[in-house]
């Protein structure tokens, strides 16, 4: 078959149905765009994190870091004096709230003498003839800003910035800019002594960056250090910062990618049904081609080629769309993806051509695969019969679908038992794919079954519709399959998100027990309530009780996600609020009882009753895992400990948050004012009532899932569009039939009603099968995928109203789509239509 023939035939096949073709391309494009955008955003974010880490740690080989509260500076000389160490640079790294505007500023306290040997950029003006750095570099009132920080604050060198701290507001003069730290992001660099002195960190360090002597093996050094480092302080390679960021976001990213693949899967079915319908319409054409000497193989090639072309178009549009979208998102809101992982990170657009190419190829492959089935049927065409035959039906799959579906369903069930692979719910995703395939395979037998049992209807129009549907079981199956795939994915996502939201709502109800919450500062880690300040608040009239809370981030192992320690007064009521199991403190033990969230249990492989040690305040503390509790506010490990025990261990009586119970809830405003008056030195004090926290948490949830909601809506819209256009294609080829019916006396309205009934039947069948398989998939999402990727346990809650609305919408849309799409075909003069037939 030469190229010009191919071109002619392809042109012929695409000319007929532009709207449907466009939808198919759009669907492929959507999948490709989504996967591409997710990947690009994430790659850009990671590249930025990597670059920032590199920019700030310079030539460091090893990074020694401790919990959020830092570690004793006595470690510094021990590290610096080691044989293997060329330079050890101590760092105080803190996040200070801005005094005069919302937000925080990262403050890096470094010893410029040391830091400059790892990263010359810490010393301002080092390239100028005047050694300006040492003139002012050690002055505790000076700060050097990275260009990013300068730009964000809209400040100029010479101006003063004010930051909040325990010890009162810290005023720093912007002595200069550190242009070489530009890639390091938003930060102010001050002398380490100033950071310790002015932000209440005397004696504490956050980090020690180490450069090793040439020839020293970094991994061996880290191992050797293990015995030297106090509990809770770990040595890691600087690159593991990016690795850690990657592992934290991986589950979220994989979920979005899975959504993208599902869009591609929907596209595959749309391609299949589009081309299947076309193939049916063009059976004679295909037969003619065969008669003219095109081999069966050649015909298959032709059809797959058509699909591939659709795929290529979709992939190109999708890749461009994905790039444009990720670029726009980067520019407008950073790399966040709505989940807050990379908040405040200003990444540069860094698309990865290889990954994007692979995703585009996947789109082309999906489209080509959709055609493969049709191509096989077409190549087996009985030429003589097809030339005579005017049947419009889609080639039907052979029997055996039920058995195959049962096998797939069983395989899916087995896959559910597969443990997560490197933290990813691979088994869950495969099970979803199996079940989806099974439900698609079940479509044809289900359609056959439904048609057999369809009751005889009296209404002649309805009877006509039934007869029509019965006459074209292949078309019915193809249309239903398209609906099944998108409907089941929508149902599954809807059930999952709803279950999550209801569980979160209930959890918030239990967790938010106090009337008023006070935070020393909205963000940042430099301001806390001292014991004396806590006492001042507790003594205010109108306050029944004040519960203090303190947090620390513990470093458990190199490269591992940190573990958050939440210290607060615990009693049975509070534990029940956290849905802790058991909610009763255990009988007195020598170990401190702690409750671990699901993530901590999963990630640390702890079980209830285990006795483990955790590093708190530089010591190894023996604790017993008294139970599990739910924590939707953290995607990784967290431990709940009684505040009294925490204070006994750490000797730290300060608090980050206060939960305030009022004598009279209606007095919240008055008490808030009294608190501000009682704590005049706390400029950063943030007060919020429980209801508002509850509402805000749900808002954050909705924002996080906004991407999901949007994708669901688009998937439904595309599926409906596809079905409408498939009906339109069918209607066009049924002009003769419509003409005959008109000829026989049916009104235009009656024909439209017949078509609407056909559409409704198709929609209902698809929606019901989709509902069933979607419900099954939602269970996988809730109990396997979510649990394994986010470690959030939850109950399944059925959004019955939403599901009913979805079914109704599908049925209505199919009915409306079917009748609407036939109007053009019906506009034709009936007589002419019949003559057409002659």
């Amino acid at each position: 078959m030469n190229a010009s023939v191919l071109r002619l035939v392809l042109r012929g096949s695409f000319a007929g149905n532009k709207a449907r073709l466009a939808l198919t391309v759009l669907c492929i494009a959507l999948g490709v765009a989504l996967a591409g955008a997710v990947h690009t955003l994430h790659a850009s974010a990671l590249a930025e994190i990597e670059r920032a880490a590199r920019a700030l740690s310079g030539k460091a080989d090893v990074e020694i870091r401790g919990p959020r509260s830092g570690f004793d500076e006595a470690l510094y000389p021990l590290i610096a004096k080691r044989e293997e160490v060329l330079v050890a640079s101590p760092v105080v790294d803190l996040e200070a709230p801005l005094a005069n505007s919302p937000g925080t500023l990262r403050v890096l306290g470094v010893d410029p003498f040391r830091a400059a040997r790892l990263q010359a950029g810490y010393v301002a003006g080092s390239s100028s003839a005047n050694f300006t750095w040492s003139t002012e570099g050690l002055d505790a009132s000076n700060a050097w800003l990275t260009p990013a920080a300068l730009a964000r604050l809209g400040a100029q060198p010479g101006q003063t910035i004010a930051l909040r701290s325990d010890a009162g507001d810290v005023h720093l003069r912007i002595a200069g800019v550190l242009p070489s730290l530009d890639a390091g992001g938003d930060a102010a660099v001050v002398d380490i002594a100033a950071a310790q002195e002015r932000f209440g960190r005397v004696g504490r360090l956050s980090r020690i960056d180490v450069r090793l002597r040439p020839g020293v093996d970094a991994a061996a050094f880290r191992t050797a250090l293990a015995s030297v480092l106090p509990p809770g302080v770990v040595a890691s390679a600087p690159a593991s910062i990016a690795t850690r960021a990657e592992s934290i976001t991986r589950a979220y990213r994989v979920n979005l990618t899975a959504l993208a693949l599902m869009a591609l899967l929907t596209g595959l079915f749309l391609v299949y049904s589009t081309l299947a319908l076309q193939a049916a319409r063009r059976r004679q054409e295909h037969a003619l081609l065969r008669a003219l000497g095109v081999t069966g193989r050649g015909l298959s090639f032709l059809i797959v080629m058509e699909g591939a072309l659709v795929g290529v178009a979709g992939a190109i549009v999708g890749t461009l769309l994905g790039l444009a979208a990720s670029r726009a998102i980067l520019r407008r809101s950073g790399t966040d993806l709505g989940a807050g992982y990379f908040r405040g990170l200003d990444a540069t657009f860094a698309p990865d051509p290889w990954a994007l190419g692979a995703i585009a190829l996947l789109g082309v492959a999906a489209a080509a695969a959709g055609c493969g089935v049709i191509a096989r049927a077409a190549s087996r065409l009985d030429v003589a019969a097809a030339l005579r035959d005017r049947a419009l039906d889609v080639p039907q799959q052979r029997s055996g679908g039920v058995i195959a579906a049962a096998c797939l369903a069983a395989l899916g069930a087995v896959l559910l038992l597969v443990p997560p692979v490197t933290g990813l719910p691979v088994g869950g995703y495969l099970a979803i794919t199996c079940w989806l395939a099974a439900s698609v395979l079940l479509v044809a037998p289900a359609c056959r079954g439904a048609l057999q049992h369809l009751a005889r209807v009296r209404d002649p129009v309805a009877a006509l519709a039934v007869a029509q549907v019965r006459h074209l079981p292949g078309h019915l199956s193809a249309s239903v399959a398209g609906i099944v795939v998108s409907a089941s994915l929508c149902v599954a996502m809807a059930v999952m998100v709803h279950s999550f939201r209801v569980s979160l709502d209930a959890w918030l109800q239990g967790v938010i027990g106090a009337d008023l919450y006070a935070r020393a500062a909205e963000e940042g880690d430099t301001v806390r309530f001292s014991l004396e300040q806590q006492g001042r608040v507790a003594a205010l009239p109108g306050i029944a009780r004040v519960d203090a809370r303190q947090y620390d981030r513990l470093a458990i192992a190199e490269g591992a996600a940190p573990l958050t320690l939440v210290a607060r007064p615990l009693d049975a009521t509070i534990l029940r609020g956290f849905q802790a199991e058991p909610a009763e403190p255990p009988p007195a033990t020598s170990e401190v009882p702690v409750w671990a969230n699901d993530a901590a249990l999963d990630l640390q492989a702890w079980r209830i009753g285990d006795r483990v040690t955790i590093p708190v305040a530089g010591r190894s503390i023996a604790v017993v895992i008294a139970g599990r509790y739910r924590d939707y506010s953290r995607t990784w490990g967290a431990l709940l400990m009684d505040l009294a025990a925490y204070r006994r261990i750490t000797g730290d009586s300060s608090a980050s948050d206060l939960a305030i119970h009022l004598r009279d809830r209606s007095q919240a405003t008055a008490v808030s004012a009294a608190m501000r008056a009682a704590l005049p030195e706390m400029g950063s004090l943030a007060l919020e009532d429980g209801t508002s926290i509850h509402r805000r948490s749900l808002e954050i949830f909705d924002r996080t899932f906004a991407v999901t909601y949007a994708l669901e809506a688009v998937a439904i819209a595309i599926a409906l569009g596809g079905i409408t256009s498939s009906f339109a294609a069918l209607a066009w080829s049924r002009r003769r039939e419509f003409g005959l019916l008109r000829h026989l006396g049916l009104t235009r309205r009656e024909i439209l009603r017949m078509l609407a009934l056909e559409g409704a039947a198709t929609g209902l069948l698809g929606a019901l099968i989709g509902l069933a398989s979607g419900a099954a998939i939602s269970l996988v999402l809730v109990h396997v995928v979510n649990r394994q990727s986010f470690h959030w346990g939850m109950e399944v809650h059925w959004p019955l109203a939403a599901l009913a609305a979805l079914v109704l919408a599908l049925v209505a849309a199919c009915a409306a789509g079917a009748s609407w799409s036939a109007r053009a075909a019906l506009r034709d003069d009936a007589v002419r239509a019949v003559r057409d037939d002659a």
Partner: protein, 358 residues
């Protein structure tokens, strides 16, 4: 007065303080430098934390298998009163700087490296009561009757023991060294000339045993420099007959000598303090740096009364351009002396490019 490199290093040290000078003076009373205050050993071998500036400055000639080599090792201590009284152990109340250079005729220019640190944590200290100063693994210490220094630098390592063969040589009036006509600019200053050097030098991957002769200066002060000084010439010479000579002059902007002085001590140990009129530096040959375009009088006739020594550099290019890191540019070079007697020492030339900014 002391070598010009130290002058340059001091320049850096002073810059450090320049911005807050007035405040410092109000905040802290530096220990004064007054005449008639006799030096006491071993007390004065160590650090004088109350003074503003202090340095231990070693220069010398080494005989190595590859030929003669000059070396220079300096430790500076600077007091930063602005940081005093803080609770943080990192408070930069005392700062230490170290500088090392190797004059290698085979290379044709200097190899040099430096270290800076705030004192503390046992990582960088200048101890009181004994010569013991270090920044990480760079150290200078008087131990078992010899000054021992270890300088593992980038492309060279010095490991030297320098044994005094004579008593310390107090400069000026029993250790009180005037830097100008008035009494307000002065330092406490003694030298250890004729140090007998043994040890090892690594140059790149080549390690070699060396012997030689060195000179150590230890000087501390709180107010050193006159405002109208543009630069300094300094020389410290160990003569083959056991005699030693330290001579310096402070140049004004127009090149005329603002102040001069020195000490000559003969091999028998009889020292003579030199007054401004007794010391003259006369340029014989200049060398223009191809890198910075600065012209230095690298060969000098040094006249003390009626005796003249011709100072010829071991190599012309001993310019130390540390503007990229410390902002200093000067010539600090190993020289050979001939004429009235023969010997080896160091010549230091600063302020030849531009007026020093203080």
């Amino acid at each position: 007065m002391t070598p010009c490199a130290r002058f340059e290093m001091m320049h850096r040290a002073l810059l450090l303080l320049a911005g807050m000078l007035a405040a410092c003076m109000a905040l802290a009373q530096y220990d004064p430098v007054v005449p008639g205050h006799a030096l006491q050993f071993p007390r004065d071998l160590g650090s004088h934390a109350g003074h503003r500036l202090e340095w231990w400055y070693v220069t010398g000639h080494l005989d190595a298998p590859r030929g003669p080599i000059g070396f220079q090792v300096t430790f500076f201590r600077v007091r930063n009163p602005a940081a005093e009284g803080q609770a943080s152990r990192f408070a930069p109340g005392q700062l230490l700087f170290a500088h090392a250079a190797l004059a290698d005729p085979k290379l044709g220019r200097l190899r040099h490296d430096e270290r800076s640190a705030r004192a503390g944590f046992g990582l960088a200290e200048a101890r009181a009561g004994a010569t013991d100063v270090f920044i990480d693994d760079w150290s200078l210490k008087l131990e078992d009757g010899a000054y021992r220094t270890r300088i593992p630098a980038g492309d060279f390592t010095l490991e030297l023991a320098m044994r005094p063969t004579q008593a310390p040589m107090p400069q000026g009036e029993g250790g009180f060294s005037r830097k100008g006509p008035g009494g307000e600019h002065a330092s406490y200053y003694y030298s250890e000339p004729q140090l007998e050097v043994t040890g090892n030098v690594r140059i790149e991957s080549e390690s070699m045993a060396v012997r030689g002769v060195a000179w150590l200066d230890h000087e501390w002060s709180s107010a050193m420099l006159a405002k109208d000084a543009a630069g300094w010439d300094w020389a410290g010479l160990n003569f083959d007959d056991g005699a030693s000579l330290m001579a310096f002059r402070i140049r004004a902007l127009d090149g005329h000598t603002l102040w001069a002085g020195g000490t000559y001590r003969d091999g028998a140990g009889t020292a003579r303090t030199l007054r401004p009129g007794q010391v003259r530096f006369e340029p014989v040959r200049t060398w223009k740096s191809p890198r910075t375009g600065t012209t230095y009088p690298v060969a000098m006739d040094l006249r003390v009364d009626d005796r003249t020594w011709r100072l010829e550099p071991l190599l012309d290019d001993q310019e130390l351009d540390a503007r990229g890191s410390t902002g200093t540019l000067y010539w600090e070079g190993a020289v050979r002396a001939s004429g009235a007697s023969t010997g080896r020492g160091y010549l230091e030339l600063t302020g030849y490019r531009e007026k020093l900014p203080f």
